[in-house]
Symmetry: C4
Subunit: 190 residues, 4 copies
């Protein structure tokens, strides 16, 4: 059993989940009389939803990218690795719901915590995926030990960031998600 | 006509059906004043929907997996086999509706029966697919007779489980779906 | 420019359109008290929607199949053929809406006519696609003249059937769609 | 890292975004008594939505086509080019929302401006994509300088058209979108 099969499912689910995010943006229902000013006002009130759409799209693209660079190095797979990835995809496919949830109630702590937990699970399963593949010698033989260890460190970034965001959500729910943008800077450092 | 074409359609429909499951999770509409406590409460009342999402996602992944291992061995196809698979996909694409239905009225018998019937049809068509391919010598010649017979037995697990769940739904609708998790254990035994 | 590119887009749009059909099935909203009898009754009242879902799924699968057998023989393409296919896909992607429309108001003539017109356009564009490819020598050289002519005849079945259904919809809207099932029998005869 | 990976994601997101456009067409909710005349009337009132569906579908197909002809010539990629494309896809996936928005309030200036801005961003990112690839020598060596320059000119058509449509939307919102159809004629001239 090759890894190609898993990659096809991963590509499909990511493309769909990323496109479904747009369904979290609802065309505002404006009471009559509908004027340009009224439309502009309700559009402005949606800025939080646009922000969450933007952020979730970029985060999903990042996860898709990391998954691809991991599977580029993983040469074999088994039943267990397949199921780690299925559960991982289950949480990826949940992101449009979490995004929608935060888009509606982003000023509260509970929806933000739900979103953070969702990303935390995605991060933990990334970790598990790589560690399992390393442990069972599924990695391409040409990959040196340093690269493998560096990948283990990289895979800690997301769960740690999610925990940090979760902690911040108790203090300032609205701005806690900004922590996720640090991922792009941290990745350069490691 | 090769089997590759069918597999492409199968992969596409599975990726979409699995991702559409998330649409069965609706962001709760909470009356003002919206507080963290209120959101948490309505989230807790959704546990049944999360459970059904989880279960349907895992079941669809299982079906996708079984389909792939069958088509890995099927080397030829014809018009009839194509249509068996189209009808099979019709019931696969119906799963998001059934899931939604159970998510809303999972405490009743009729929705659970509908869900069980949906899975039963998927199981029966799996069976038909394999039997038809065996009967018309579409199987790879290197596959031994024992493997073929073992596959026929394996393909009975799903319809039998669906019938068991349907029977249980008359006694305890809420918990009857747990029977499906036995699939993972039974598969190891055969 | 090869035909492979068009085929990828076709495969994607078909898989999605076929799966989106399920969104035309809405979980019934039942007023309290919700009992098994009430659920069963509202499920029974949905039989028309299930029928339309079933029919549209099978029709789309048929169109996908015919498209593939046409493109199997078409070896070259140009800008115009690409656009014929884009417009064709536009009407294919419209099928979930037409299906939904008929599912809601299938007892009236206008929605049925809309559905028939949608299928008529799909049929006409199939025709155009093949005739254009024949006229510009895009067909594989090994295909004999008889096969080409037979395909032209085959491509008339759908638009003619759609016109027949449209005519019938003025007399008996509910049953006019049954005409489409004749496609499966007629194809064997030609 | 090859460009093949990006192309797969692009194909998936386009197929889904094009098919999701159909969700902007809502089956009309008609108050009793539902007659053919009432259905026809509400269908006629939807002509703006059908027009926007048609236009967005054709525009997305055009963008998909242009992306493919660009990537046919781009032989290498890097982290930055990947992210230009992800942001580009973010605006492509936003088109179903913009379409929906214009479909509902197409007689106003603000929704039309939003739609135009969306297309402007898509055009600008097309530009950036090609310029970045040229600057970093990612283009196939066989492509001559003239073709490269012609592509830079071609990539200006969309953003310029979007700006023109935006300008017109202040005078006549309903008809400003017609400007986009000039794209098909202008492309022949260059």
């Amino acid at each position: 059993m090759t890894t190609k099969r898993i990659e096809t499912l991963v590509d499909g689910i990511f493309a769909i989940a990323m496109t479904l995010l747009v369904l979290s943006l609802n065309v505002p229902q404006i009471p009559s009389p509908v004027t340009d000013a009224a439309v502009l006002k309700s559009l402005a009130s949606m800025w939080g939803q646009f922000f969450v759409y933007f952020m979730s799209f970029v985060l999903l693209a990042t996860f898709w990218r990391i998954n691809h660079s991991q599977f580029y190095l993983i040469k074999k797979t088994d039943q267990t690795l397949l199921w780690i990835n299925v559960i991982w995809l289950l949480f990826v496919a949940l992101v449009p719901f979490s995004t929608n949830f935060v888009g509606d109630y982003g000023y509260l702590t509970v929806p933000i915590l739900f979103f953070d937990l969702n990303l935390f699970m995605i991060g933990i399963l990334f970790n598990l995926n790589w560690r399992y593949a390393v442990k069972h010698n599924f990695i391409d033989e040409d990959v040196d030990q340093e690269h493998i260890q560096s990948n283990i460190r990289l895979n800690l970034i997301l769960p740690v960031t999610a925990l940090a965001a979760a902690g911040l959500s108790f203090i300032t729910p609205e701005y806690s998600s900004l922590v996720y943008f640090s991922i792009f800077f941290v990745r350069r450092i490691f």
